[in-house]
């Protein structure tokens, strides 16, 4: 409840519109009640009326009242539900900004599917409960006392008798809603199972066919399908019950109306019109009660959602600026690592242990090693994407004391997965710059990364959309685009995480030369699988299982026995073979 109340405060940003919308609810309800009374009174008047003139007047009066009712109903929904959508947007924006700020260790721990569901379905659950939910509740709070009050005035015993089935219905809905939720959850789960089964079979179709297992897989799928069928039928039954309870209690309200009402008509001064009012009002209190029952049913879910959302908003952020951050005006690009160890949160073994080495300004340093030896983990530490044990310094300042902006503004970074946005080429490269890049700047960058010819061949040139909805770039093109993006701000330090693996060797040689020469005295740290990438580096660090196995130049490393030499021999053979 506490969490929901906290989220409700967001609604108060729109208090004027919200207040107006809520104000419409009692007016609409009153008009609704008035309609019933008008028709009921008219029926009574029929007995004593001389002529039918008043009926024409009545028609236009009800027409007018119905119009008023409709208008207020419109504004009530428009304002209240509208505000709930604005709140949804605000909340989504806040959550999104929070996710952007949270460090990689958080994203490493939390699957993106779960984060997305917090921003989507959890926010929607909260909105439904606090927006339309509030509207229905207030509607019920207006309609119920008005209608039941009217009935009490008309005929107290009958009103009491009518309320009984209504209470039964409200209780029934409330009791039934856990069952409805249970089965609808089971339906959703079995539907997820169905997808998983299908996904697995279709993805593993070679094994399925190779072992002639089509029938067996179909039988397994059928079993899940049957389970889904059973839950669907159960859900259908629960919904049938709720329909029976709802409609049944409505139908049964006519019984006391008929019996007590009929008796009262004879016994006392109870008119045919009053009978009509009872019948019509029963109709009208009906939906608000169902809505409140529904609301009580979804309340637990909304509560959980509010908690999940709050959890995300309150998640701590360990990687932030220290209280008195050190700012550097010019970064030279001198990194020093002393005894650095790092373990991923929750991992049993460290990814890096006791790493000590230095990257001097203007040096090109290569980092190599087998898959899983810790290359990417090491590169992550330079950008302080994670905090590690030990000491990492940039230009003599420990990273933890350095202003985050100073550090990251000094870095050009090329990720291993060559992540690009599905946007235009210009937009993607401008991501690295503080302004939108001009054609001339783009031409210069594309030259640096040896992509000039390829970019001119894009149907829309620099403004070509890339990714799913546009031109699909080859692996090499993606990597070179990422490098161009990193170069766009001309950083003093460039970090490349195996970012040349898909570029052919000839282009690679030219590119590495450009990287070194274009930024005068730029520090370049690059990891690679293909050793030819780091061949000309000033120093090469060889990692093995998170430790440094060797440091040296290419010639030094080839001269001694070890991982580097065997791998170099193998890769040479591979190239020779490709040329056959």
């Amino acid at each position: 409840m506490k969490h929901l109340a906290r989220q409700f405060r967001r609604f108060l940003r729109y208090k004027r519109t919200l207040a107006l919308g809520l104000l419409c609810i009692p007016i609409g309800a009153a008009a609704d009640l008035w309609l019933t009374i008008l028709v009921g009174d008219a029926l009574d008047q029929l007995k004593t009326a001389e002529n039918a003139d008043f009926l024409a007047r009545l028609f236009f009066l009800t027409f007018g009242v119905a119009l008023v009712r409709g208008t207020f109903r419109f504004y009530q929904r428009w304002w209240v539900v509208g505000v709930s959508r604005y709140v949804e947007n605000d909340l989504k924006q806040d959550l999104f900004d929070k996710l952007l700020a949270l460090p990689l260790s958080f994203h490493h721990k939390n699957r993106s599917g779960d984060l997305v569901s917090r921003i989507t379905s959890d926010v929607e659950n909260i909105r439904m409960f606090l927006g339309p939910g509030l509207m229905y509740t207030l509607g019920a709070c207006c309609m119920l006392p008005l209608s039941i009050g009217t009935m009490l005035v008309l005929n107290a015993p009958l009103a009491a008798a009518v309320v009984v089935p209504l209470v039964i219905m409200g209780l029934g809905m409330w009791l039934l809603s856990p069952r409805l939720q249970k089965h609808s959850l089971a339906v959703q789960e079995t539907q997820a199972d169905l997808s998983a089964r299908a996904q697995e079979t279709f993805a593993g179709v070679r094994i399925v066919k190779g072992y002639a297992r089509e029938d067996e897989q179909a039988a397994k799928f059928d079993a899940v399908s049957r389970a889904n069928f059973r839950h669907q039928v159960e859900l259908g039954r629960a919904r049938g019950l709720s329909s029976a309870i709802t409609w049944g209690s409505k139908d049964f309200t006519y019984l006391p109306i008929l019996f007590i009402g009929g008796w009262s008509m004879i016994d006392r001064d109870f008119q045919a019109g009053d009978l009509f009012k009872f019948v019509d009002l029963t109709f009208k209190v009906f939906w608000p009660i169902i809505a409140v029952g529904w609301l009580a049913g979804v309340f637990p879910r909304a509560q959980v959602s509010a908690q999940r959302v709050q959890e995300l908003l309150d998640a701590p952020n360990p990687i932030a600026d220290p209280p008195e951050p050190v700012r550097l005006d010019a970064v030279r690009g001198h990194f020093r690592l002393v005894d650095v160890s790092f373990t991923y949160p929750g991992a049993p073994a460290p990814a890096l242990s006791r790493i000590t080495f230095e990257v001097r300004p203007g040096e090109v340093v290569g980092i190599v090693g087998a898959t899983g030896s810790g290359k990417s983990s090491l590169l992550n530490l330079f950008a302080r994407l994670y905090d590690a044990q030990g000491r990492i310094e940039l230009d003599g300042v420990p990273l933890a004391k350095l202003e985050l902006a100073t550090l990251r503004n000094a870095l050009g970074y090329v990720p291993q997965d060559s992540f690009l946005f599905s946007a235009t080429w210009r937009e993607n490269l401008s991501f690295g710059s503080d302004h939108e890049l001009s054609d001339a700047e783009l031409a210069e960058l594309s030259k640096l990364v040896c992509m000039t010819d390829e970019v001119t061949r894009f149907p829309r040139g620099y403004d070509q959309t890339i990714g799913e909805r546009g031109v699909t770039l080859s692996g090499g093109q993606r990597q070179r685009s990422c490098i161009a993006r990193a170069l766009a701000k001309d950083p003093p330090v460039l970090i490349l995480d195996d970012a040349l693996s898909a570029v052919d060797t000839e282009t690679e040689t030219a590119l590495v030369r450009h990287l070194k020469h274009a930024g005068h005295g730029r520090t370049v740290i690059l990891s690679a699988h293909r050793l030819s990438t780091v061949r000309h580096a000033d120093r090469i660090v060889v990692l093995d299982g998170g430790r440094i196995e060797a440091i040296g130049t290419h010639d030094e490393l080839v001269a001694r026995d070890g991982w580097y030499r065997t791998t170099w021999a193998r890769q040479q053979a591979q190239e020779e073979l490709a040329e056959l």
């Binding site: 997305v116 094994i207 190779g210 049957r226 259908g236 019996f259 009929g262 004879i266 970074y413 991501f431």
Partner: protein, 622 residues
């Protein structure tokens, strides 16, 4: 604050065409659905029976109320008015009890009918859909691999999951509810005319207005809602994208720019949402207002009739109820039509898949051979050429032989055509030229399922399915009992893997075997092949690196698998090629060298280079 209600213009980067468009009424789809629904004719009969009973009771209820009002209540009233003393309350109560009893019976009947109305119709729809789903799944797995190559897995999964589920609406909303709504409206209209033709005329003349309002708003709401979905998909897509590139965003310090972009997308999503809210906020009161006006008209005309004594109060009340019976389905008409349209779109996609025919005649022909008991496993490739895409040959003129009991190892660089040999031997594809024979008989003449049962298969993607370890080893083969399994596990050195799992053979396996290590999966894949006691082994050695202890176990396991069996091995291990009876060296789709390990090494050709490339590691670690 001013809320924007205007219709947003659809922009190019909304990508609205990615949201399936609703489909107009299509009779042929209904015909197809009828064919699928035929086995469930009884359920349908039951559904219509329930709907008819409910409708009859709905008509009966107001009739009983009228009977009570026009009967005992009016009589008593008149009697009292004439002479107050002569009123016999006993007779009145007796009469009233009769009608009340009748009404209780009717209401109880309705409670039961309302339950079945929902429960039974859902059951009917789901019964049709459950059958269709399995049928579709069977149809898909019976397709050949070339068919799968052309279709993304995700799309096929959508067909058997959400599309089929959506199609159930065609049964529940289309065949049951909507069809019966039409009957209800017609019958209610006729009844109204019998009750009081003048009032009925007033009502039926205003009905087209109600239908018009209902459909008008629905059309707009449908388009608006499609835009909402498109923009929501765009917003969520961007969210996913940013989450997957979060490190780039953070290192480049572009949090603000990305956040601003998200604001823009959210704003457009909001704009589309507000349009939907506007239409809904307008439609619901508009429909109510139309119904109110019709009711006012009924009061006006009805009042005149009551005044002229050509209508009783009871009749008026009955009429009032029947009008509600008539207007309710019409108010829902638009909504239901939308549901139906989206179901049509799904149905079209589902039937589209069902209509594809397999490219290879994979079902065994009438003349198909059974596997002879003395299956020898003698394989010959005779001048085989093949390409996945027309004009691009992956294999050209490949001939070789695997004599019974011999091991043939294939080596070559990536893309040399090694896996294609396996694909052809398993008859996942047909050679474009040449032929493959097993025991002297063309592969096309074998009963495919029976033949594949003689194969022991270990593929690169050591694929394990969700289920138990036992299920994954047995793979539905009847002849495999615990004894054979134990034997296979021992021979494949996988006993320890199973023993270490809680539950042993019955330990659960996650999807794709995610809970097991690469080496464990490889050992289990070998055990799976061994359990079938195959006559012909097809082994595509995994390249993924494992620790040296596991490596040693895998080598031993492979030796037991290959011993005395005809086998085709795509080799990545030195131990495998050293033991092979023949090594085929593939390069760019051709066999360039063949012979034994030492012979080939002496040749100093492609094999010698490959040897350095692939097995250098093995030298380094003696």
């Amino acid at each position: 604050m001013k809320l924007a209600w205007r219709k947003p213009s659809v922009e190019a980067d909304d990508h609205i065409d990615e949201i399936p468009a609703p489909k107009a009424f299509d009779g042929t789809l209904f015909k197809r659905l009828f064919a699928e629904a035929r086995p469930h004719a009884k359920l349908f009969a039951g559904a219509y029976g329930v709907l008819a009973a409910l409708f009859a009771l709905e008509l009966a209820g107001p009739w009983i109320l009228r009977g009570a009002i026009d009967g005992p209540v009016t009589q008593a009233l008149e009697a009292r008015q004439r002479h107050a003393d002569a009123f016999e309350s006993d007779a009145f109560v007796h009469d009233l009890l009769f009608w009340a009893g009748l009404y209780v019976a009717c209401a109880l009947g309705m409670v039961i009918a309302r339950y079945y109305e929902v429960a039974h119709i859902v059951r009917t729809g789901q019964a049709v859909v459950a059958d269709l789903r399995t049928k579709l799944f069977r149809h898909i797995v019976s397709q050949d691999l070339a068919w799968f190559d052309k279709r993304p897995t995700g799309q096929l999964v959508t067909r058997v999951s959400s599309d089929v589920e959506n199609l159930s609406e065609m049964v529940t909303t289309g065949l049951c509810t909507l069809a019966f709504d039409v009957i209800k409206v017609v019958v209610a209209c006729i009844v109204l005319f019998f009750l009081h033709w003048k009032l009925a005329l007033v009502v039926s003349l205003s009905l087209p207005v109600l239908i018009g309002v209902s459909l008008f708003f629905r059309g707009g709401a449908r388009d608006a809602h499609r835009l909402v979905r498109a923009r929501l998909a765009r917003t969520n897509g961007y969210l996913q994208e940013v989450l997957s590139g979060i490190r780039v965003v953070q290192v480049f310090r572009r949090e603000e720019r990305v956040s601003g972009r998200f604001t823009g997308l959210l704003g457009r999503y909001l704009e589309a949402n507000m349009r939907t809210i506007f239409l809904f906020a307008l439609a619901l009161p508009a429909l109510d207002f139309t119904v109110n006006t019709i009711q006012s008209g009924v009061v006006w005309t009805g009042g005149i009739e009551i005044l002229g004594s050509s209508m009783s109060y009871g009749e008026f009340l009955q009429f009032w109820f029947y009008v509600k019976l008539l207007t309710n389905p019409l108010q829902e008409l638009g909504e239901r039509y939308n549901v139906l349209q989206s179901a049509f779109a799904s149905a079209e996609r589902v039937f589209g898949v069902l209509d594809t025919r397999p490219g290879l005649a994979l079902a065994p022909a009438a003349s198909a051979r059974r596997v002879a008991p003395e299956f020898r496993g003698h394989v010959r490739f005779e001048h085989v050429s093949f390409g996945y895409v027309e004009g691009v040959e992956v294999l050209s003129d490949v001939s070789f032989e695997i004599p019974p009991g011999a091991t043939v190892a294939v080596v070559g660089a990536t893309g040399a055509g090694k896996s294609t040999l396996v694909n052809l031997l398993l008859r996942f594809y047909e050679p474009t030229k040449g032929r493959i024979t097993v025991d002297g008989v063309d592969l096309r003449e074998w009963d495919l399922a029976a033949l594949r049962k003689r194969f022991g298969l270990v593929l690169q993607e050591d694929f394990l399915f969700a289920g138990s370890i036992r299920e994954n080893l047995v793979m539905g083969r009847d002849a495999i009992d615990d004894e054979i399994l134990a034997e296979a596990l021992e021979a494949s050195r996988a006993e320890r893997v199973v023993a270490n799992l809680a539950g042993g053979l019955d330990a659960p396996v996650a999807e794709r075997g995610a809970t097991l290590s690469t080496g464990e999966r490889q050992l289990l894949a070998i055990a799976r092949a061994l359990a079938g006691r195959p006559d012909l082994v097809i082994l595509d050695e995994a390249t993924a690196s494992v620790d040296s202890a596991t490596e040693a176990r895998i080598e031993e396991a492979q030796q037991s698998l290959l011993a005395d069996r005809s086998s085709l091995v795509i080799a990545h291990r030195l131990s495998t090629v050293r033991r092979a009876d023949q090594i085929l060296v593939m390069h760019r789709g051709k066999i360039r060298e063949r012979g034994k390990h030492h012979e080939l090494l002496r040749e100093r050709g492609i094999y010698a280079r490959l040897h350095t490339l692939q097995f250098a590691d093995t030298h380094a670690r003696p």
